[in-house]
Each structure stands twice: as structure tokens, then as C-alpha cells.
């Protein structure tokens, strides 16, 4: 039997999980990543990872985890895969524990769990407030072990450019660019698993890392890979504003008892701690008595916007609210939240153990992503698989906190074996594909580079990027109005026109970051449109997608998955039914008293 060959693109949690599962089956993997995989964006995840292990006798169960996830996602997710993920979660925690993740412990030496948003149970395992970093390292270490064994070959500092497609529309490998030598090369493979993460850069500033551009997803989309539910963008309620980045202040701060408030009187200029309790407006606790500060993120974000923009109660008239931990003992904070408190302290020079933090919502996560099937993480293109944030499967219209880490690992663990199985069943492997197929794609990509390097324009790509980010953040995040969405779509078209006149201020052939950025920007402009036209079409409010002109969820018309296709250079939206076979949709009301 021939040995299959698998490529994984992206070395975050999903990519590493997929890599481990493929290598464990004895199949060689080529792992591509823009950054050394240990520096992937998964390290930024802070608060924890959900699994209903019911260690506190609260009566939690995987079914309740499933119910919370579907309800939290406003019934847009296909239910069977989400159920399977929730069932797998306790086993995933055990696996990570065996790999040596330094999870916080109880006095008995068992894993400690805390509460997170959108649930009433202590279901979130955590390693301080740097859980993503700890999980990524554990998987990175296992992959390094396979690397030593010769089963994994890493291509770090390589950027994915395109899939290599044969005449029958089957993916036969990828084309990638070495970010040092700028060499463009085709790599044959029987299947490619894409774990290329988030898309924050489309919004200019977000909680995401620099590499989270969505460029790979957008490139695949333009090659015929469908993109689903793009309009569902999570805005995290609590982040620290910054010019380069909006730094996340984890939901775990509220999970550990943090309270969100503003002074009751606009223009109250007193220091926060000198404002007496009866002159503070704890709006989340007041509006959502059952969940309080731990309502899901879309709810908390809209509440903060309402307080700031409608009630005009932002601190000192600014767009900011207090996230207050000062009532919690320092030792507890240090043990459970140190990683995030350190971030606040370093960037603002204020100790959040003494002073309430000032926070504001920020673009954080895309629920939408590459369309995959219900069972195998397979896209609509044979040979292409996807897992992690870059695909759409697990979070519906809004993701619950601490569900991302579990969905990344679970998706990767499904995608790996599925790709191996597919590759093993192929009649003709990638080695039998005519060399001209690989050469043609390489030349096509090289020509794009040559064109960009030759071009004599007057526009700087950074300027276009900033403008795109501003438009997307203003019009396609928390509140969406059809008129503004139309204008944004037109603006994106104009920016795409201007992109044709960009000037690369660096034309060298060594470690040229400008060239790669230009290519990413070109792709981002396409994905930005997918998000915008998806939002424009969906005339309802569901989860993170909120239209004041259509404030209600409309199951009769919109309980369906958006499926964007790219045909003849145009984005076309199709819709398909959501699998609601396990839980009948019910109204999503976190403000209800019971």
C-alpha cells in the first residue's frame, strides 16, 4: 500500500492537534506556518477550556454543555457535531493533563474548574490566565517529539498562497512562499488540512495576533472553497484599547467574581474606589439577574454599548466601563489571574488589584469560516479539510467563552484521521499527478508576486488596510444598519480598486514583509466583502449579528446557514438548513428571571 502524504497549514491548537493525530497513525506530515508554531495566536487564549466533568457535584453534564453551547449560539450551529464535541471535551482535558499542562489544582490534587459566560456551572479548566499558551505548548512539545522521530517536517516562516488543484477539481497539494528567500514552491500532498485561525486584521485592530489575517481562508474561497456564516463576528466585551492592538481582558476576570459597572451619574469624576456602592450602576447584574456579569459575550457587549452610547454613562464621557476585581483577595488574583493582570499593569502602569480596570469591547473571534461537513471537517473541495477558528462548525451565531480551545483541539483531532482515511482511499495519489499541475500553480503565484513588485503606484498598502479596518469596525461589528453595510460594501470595492495602484516600498527578494502583507491585504479585502454582504442580507438579529432595524430573531426566514460561494469573480450567497434534530429552538432570554 502506498504511503499517504498530508499537509497541515497552521500550527496553532487545531493544526498541532491534527498533526499529532496524523503522525500518530504513522503518516508523515508537512506542517506549514508563518511563524514558528510555538508563537501561534492560540497562546493568547487566556481564561480556560470547557469540559463538563462535574467535579463539584453541581449536576453538570455533557448534555448541559451542549445545551448551553447551542442556546448561547442562538441555534445557528448544526447540533450533532456540537454534541459530539461536548462529549469529547472531558477526554480532551484528560489528554492535555497527561501531556503535562499545568492546570490549576484543588487541594485534593484534582483539576480546578471555574465559571465562564453563558453557563451556570463551574465547567472551565484553566492554567492561570494563560491557558491557551499552556495548551499550545503541550501540543507543540508532542509535535516536536514526532519531528525528532522523523514523522513531522516543519516549514516555519512559510506563507500559504494557494491550493494546487488538478483538472478534476481535486486538491493535490499547496503552493507556499518562503518568507526569507521569497521562493515560491509547490508541495504535493494527498490532502491538506487548514487550521489558519482568525481574521482579526480585517477589522484593523482587534484582540487577535498580527498573523490572523484570514488570508489563507480568502485564498481558498477564491479557489472554490465555500465560506459559511461569515457575518457572525464576536466582539469581546472587555479589552484594553491600544493603537496597535486591543488587548483582551479575559472573561475569567468575571468568572472569578469581577464586576462591571459605571458611575450612576454621568460626569462623576471621583476616583472609582471612592464612589460608594449605591452610586455605582452594576448594569449587567441589574439587567441580567440570573447570569449577572457572566452573560454571553454578545449580550455583555451590547449592554456596554447601550450604557456608553445611549445612556451616555461611559467613564468620564469616554467609551469605557469599569471591570472591577479590587474586592477579591490579592493572593487569589495572583493564583488564578496573574497573566492577564500583568498585561494590564505593563501597558497601563496601573495595578488592577488596587484600581478597577477600564475596558471596552473589541473584535475578538469569527464564528463563521470555511464550510465543512458535519462529520469529517471536510470542505466542499475534495482533499481540503479545515479545523479551528478558520471553520464555522461549532459556535453558531455566538461562541461561548472557553469553547474555542476545545473546538480547536476537537476539530483538529477529527480532521487528522479523516484526511488520512481520504488519502488512503484515493485511487491516484499526488505522486501520480502530472508535474505540470504543480508547475502551473507555482508560476501563477510567482507572476502575482512579480506583478506586485513591478507595479508603479502611489498607494501604501498599510493605508488601505487601516481604512478597511476602520470601516469594518464602525459598520460591521456590534450594531449593523443596512444603509451603512451597503456603503461599506461599496467602500471595499473602492479599496480593491485602489489596491491595484499600490506601491511596494520594498522590492527586494529577501525577507520582504511588504510583499507578503500586500498579498494578505488583497485577500482580506475579499473576505471583508463576504462578511459585509452576509450581514447585509441577513435581516434579523441573532447572536452576535444585531440589526436595530430587525431586532428579533426570525426563525421562519433565517434559521439557516449562510453559504458564500465564489463564482466568476463574484460572491454569491446560498443558504442551507440548520440541523436542529436534537434541541428545538427556543427564545434566547438571558434577562428572564428563571
Amino acid at each position: 500500500m502506498r504511503q499517504p502524504k498530508i499537509i497541515v497549514v497552521g500550527g496553532g491548537l487545531a493544526g498541532l492537534a491534527a498533526t499529532i493525530r496524523v503522525a500518530e497513525a504513522g503518516v508523515p506530515v508537512e506542517l506549514f506556518s508563518i511563524v514558528p508554531v510555538k508563537r501561534s495566536h492560540s497562546v493568547c487564549a487566556q481564561g480556560g477550556i470547557n469540559a463538563a466533568k462535574n467535579t463539584r457535584g453541581e449536576g453538570d453534564s455533557t448534555w448541559k454543555h451542549f445545551d448551553d453551547s447551542i442556546y448561547g449560539g442562538d441555534f445557528l450551529a448544526n447540533q450533532p457535531p456540537v454534541k459530539r464535541m461536548c462529549e469529547a471535551a472531558p477526554g480532551i482535558i484528560d489528554l492535555l493533563d497527561r501531556m503535562g499542562v499545568m492546570f490549576n489544582r484543588t487541594p485534593e490534587g484534582l483539576l480546578d474548574f471555574r465559571r465562564f459566560g453563558g453557563t451556570l456551572y463551574n465547567r472551565t479548566a484553566f492554567a492561570g490566565a494563560t491557558t491557551g499558551q499552556q495548551l499550545l505548548y503541550a501540543l507543540d512539545e508532542q509535535v516536536r517529539r514526532f519531528e525528532v522521530d522523523g514523522l513531522v517536517k516543519k516549514y516555519e516562516s512559510w506563507a500559504f498562497l494557494s491550493a494546487v488543484m488538478d483538472g478534476a477539481g481535486i486538491c493535490r497539494g499547496i503552493c507556499a512562499m518562503n518568507l526569507r528567500s521569497m521562493e515560491v514552491k509547490s508541495f504535493p500532498a494527498d490532502a491538506a488540512i487548514f487550521c489558519t485561525g482568525g481574521i482579526g486584521a480585517i477589522f484593523g485592530r482587534s484582540t487577535n495576533s498580527v498573523v490572523c489575517t484570514g488570508s489563507a481562508q480568502a485564498a481558498l474561497f477564491q479557489q472554490g472553497v465555500d465560506y459559511a456564516n461569515g457575518e457572525f463576528i464576536q466582539v469581546h466585551p472587555t479589552a484594553i484599547p491600544g493603537e496597535d492592538k486591543l488587548r483582551l481582558m479575559s472573561e475569567s476576570a468575571r468568572g472569578e467574581g469581577g464586576r462591571v459597572w459605571v458611575p450612576k451619574n454621568a460626569g462623576d469624576t471621583r476616583a472609582p474606589r471612592s464612589i460608594p456602592a449605591n452610586e455605582r450602576f452594576y448594569f449587567l447584574e441589574e439587567w441580567y439577574p440570573k447570569y449577572g456579569n457572566l452573560v454571553p459575550r454578545d449580550i455583555a457587549t451590547r449592554a456596554i454599548h447601550r450604557v456608553v452610547y445611549e445612556l451616555k454613562l461611559g467613564i468620564g464621557g469616554e467609551p469605557a466601563v469599569y471591570l472591577d476585581l479590587t474586592h477579591i483577595p490579592r493572593a487569589t488574583l495572583d493564583r488564578k489571574l496573574e497573566g492577564i493582570l500583568e498585561i494590564y499593569e505593563r501597558y497601563l502602569g496601573v495595578d488592577p488589584r488596587d484600581e478597577p480596570m477600564k475596558v471596552f469591547p473589541a473584535m475578538h473571534y469569527t464564528m463563521g469560516g470555511i464550510w465543512v461537513d458535519n462529520d469529517n471537517q471536510a470542505t466542499n473541495v475534495p482533499g481540503i479539510y479545515a479545523a479551528g477558528e478558520c471553520e464555522y462548525q461549532y459556535h453558531g451565531a455566538n461562541r461561548l467563552g472557553a469553547n474555542s480551545l476545545v473546538s480547536c483541539i476537537y476539530g483538529g483531532m477529527i480532521a487528522g484521521p479523516a484526511a488520512v482515511k481520504y488519502a488512503g482511499n484515493l485511487e491516484k495519489g499526488c505522486e501520480a499527478v502530472d508535474a505540470s499541475v504543480f508547475r502551473r500553480e507555482r508560476m501563477r503565484q510567482q507572476e502575482i508576486n512579480d506583478g506586485l513588485l513591478r507595479q508603479e503606484g502611489e498607494v501604501n498598502p498599510v493605508t488601505i488596510w487601516k481604512e478597511m479596518g476602520q470601516w469594518m469596525t464602525e459598520n460591521v461589528t456590534v450594531s449593523r444598519h443596512n444603509k451603512e453595510l451597503e456603503k461599506t460594501d461599496a467602500k471595499l470595492g473602492e479599496l480593491a480598486e485602489r489596491f491595484r495602484r499600490i506601491n511596494l516600498s520594498d522590492r527586494t527578494q529577501w525577507s520582504n514583509q511588504t510583499l507578503n502583507f500586500a498579498r494578505e491585504l488583497d485577500n482580506m479585502l475579499v473576505l471583508a466583502r463576504v462578511i459585509t454582504v452576509g450581514a447585509l442580507a441577513r435581516n434579523e438579529s441573532r447572536g452576535a449579528h444585531y440589526k436595530p432595524d430587525f431586532p428579533e430573531r426570525d426563525d421562519a426566514k433565517w434559521l439557516k446557514t449562510t453559504r458564500a460561494k465564489f463564482e466568476d469573480g463574484e460572491i454569491r450567497l446560498e443558504y442551507e438548513p440548520v440541523d436542529i434534530s436534537l434541541l428545538p429552538p427556543r427564545p434566547r432570554r438571558y434577562d428572564a428571571a428563571t
Binding site: 497562546v43 503535562g100 512539545e141 493603537e243 488587548r247 501597558y347 525577507s511
Partner: protein, 250 residues
Amino acid sequence: MADKKQVIVRVRRRASPNDAPRWEEFALEWRPAMNAIICLRDIAERPVTRNGAKTTPVSYESNCLEEVCGSCAMVINGRARMACTALVDSLEQPIRLEPLTKFPLVRDLIVDRSFMFESLKRVKAWVPIDGTYDLGEGPRMAPEIQEKAYPLSRCISCGNCLEVCPQVNAHNDFIGAAILSQVRLFNMHPTGAMHARERLKAVLGPGGVADCSNAQNCVQVCPKEIPLTESIAEVNRQALKQMVFGWLLA
């Protein structure tokens, strides 16, 4: 003192490892809460030096911008640190940005730190699990052990500890504090400890733990405040023990 409205940044540049280094100076518009990354982005948007000459954007590595990915280590005003937490208002101007010097240069502020990842292979910095299938829960662990191990597991492989170590130089390939601290971490884990001897063997040879000269610079620059000198002392103790008594167990 430079005009408060301006930020003067000097960057030590090299177009490739084969090119001679040169300094370029930039005058940027000051804004509140600026850091070194924002300076580099400003330069990318308008790559013109202070005296009006066109140049290329500066090549540099960055990713998370919250000091947890380890990408943006460089030498700023003579000190090895992360660029994303280097706040302009706390730096003396002109701000000098230079690449790390202990790693092969790629371009401008980018260096190749694969030495660190290769070293992690050398010391087998992992817990050798049997497989990813369901084998039940992990070993129980006292909270005190977790609280000791967790800070060590926050190492971001930035390389700052190697940069400031006098033992890392052209004549010596000392493995460095970060890696030795990982040896301590994995030897501390109940399953990892089963392979402690292999890890210690890896750091007994040339470039290993005995090469530490106890300068203690590493612990001063670690952005994660990892007790690196403590780790080195502990690994040294374990290694000595193995050297003296190891033959008894062989």
C-alpha cells in the same frame, strides 16, 4: 530633549546577513501609549528617513503584541527586551532598535532563533505520552507543585536570556537558561520525571549546565520573570547527583 511631538527612532539595519550594518534615523509623530511596534508600523506606512531619504520598511518579527508569543525580542536602547512592551514614553530618545546579537541575522531586526527549538529537542522537553486515545485522567498533583511548575511553563522562547549571557558566544554553544529551566519543568512532572535521566544526560556534555558562569544576567531580563537561576541551580544539582551516583542505577 527631542520635541515632545516627535519620536526619534534609530534602527540598525542590514538588508541581508551579507550586507554591512547601517543606522537609519526616523522622526515619527508622537501619540499617547506608543510602543516600539507602533513606531515600526509608522515607518512601514511612510518609509522615509529623518533627512527625507526614501527607504524600505524595517523587517521585524511580531505577533501577539501582549508579550506571550516571544516574537518581538530585540535590543532596545542597549537592553534585550520585547518590543511590544517597550513604551515610548518610558524610553530615552533617540530610541535605538537593534537585532539580538547572539543569533544569526536574517534581515534588519529579524534573527533566526531555531537554536532554541533545536535545543528543546536535544533535552527532550516533553512528557512522553503513550498516545492520544482515552487513557483516563492525568496524574494527581499537589497545588504546591503546580504553583512551582506553572511559572516555568510560561517561558516564551524569546531568547533574551541567551542574548545577555556571557557564556553564549562565538566560542561556546551554551544551551542557555531557558532550556535548562525546561529540563527542570519536565523533571518535575510525575510522568516527565520518568525520563529525567535522559534530559540530564543531554545537559551534562559540552554546552550543558556546567557552562553556566553564574553571571545571573538571564533572570534580570526574562520578561516572564521566571526564576531562571533557581532552575539552573536545581538542574545542576540533579546533574551532579546523576554524575556521581548514576553508575549505581545504570
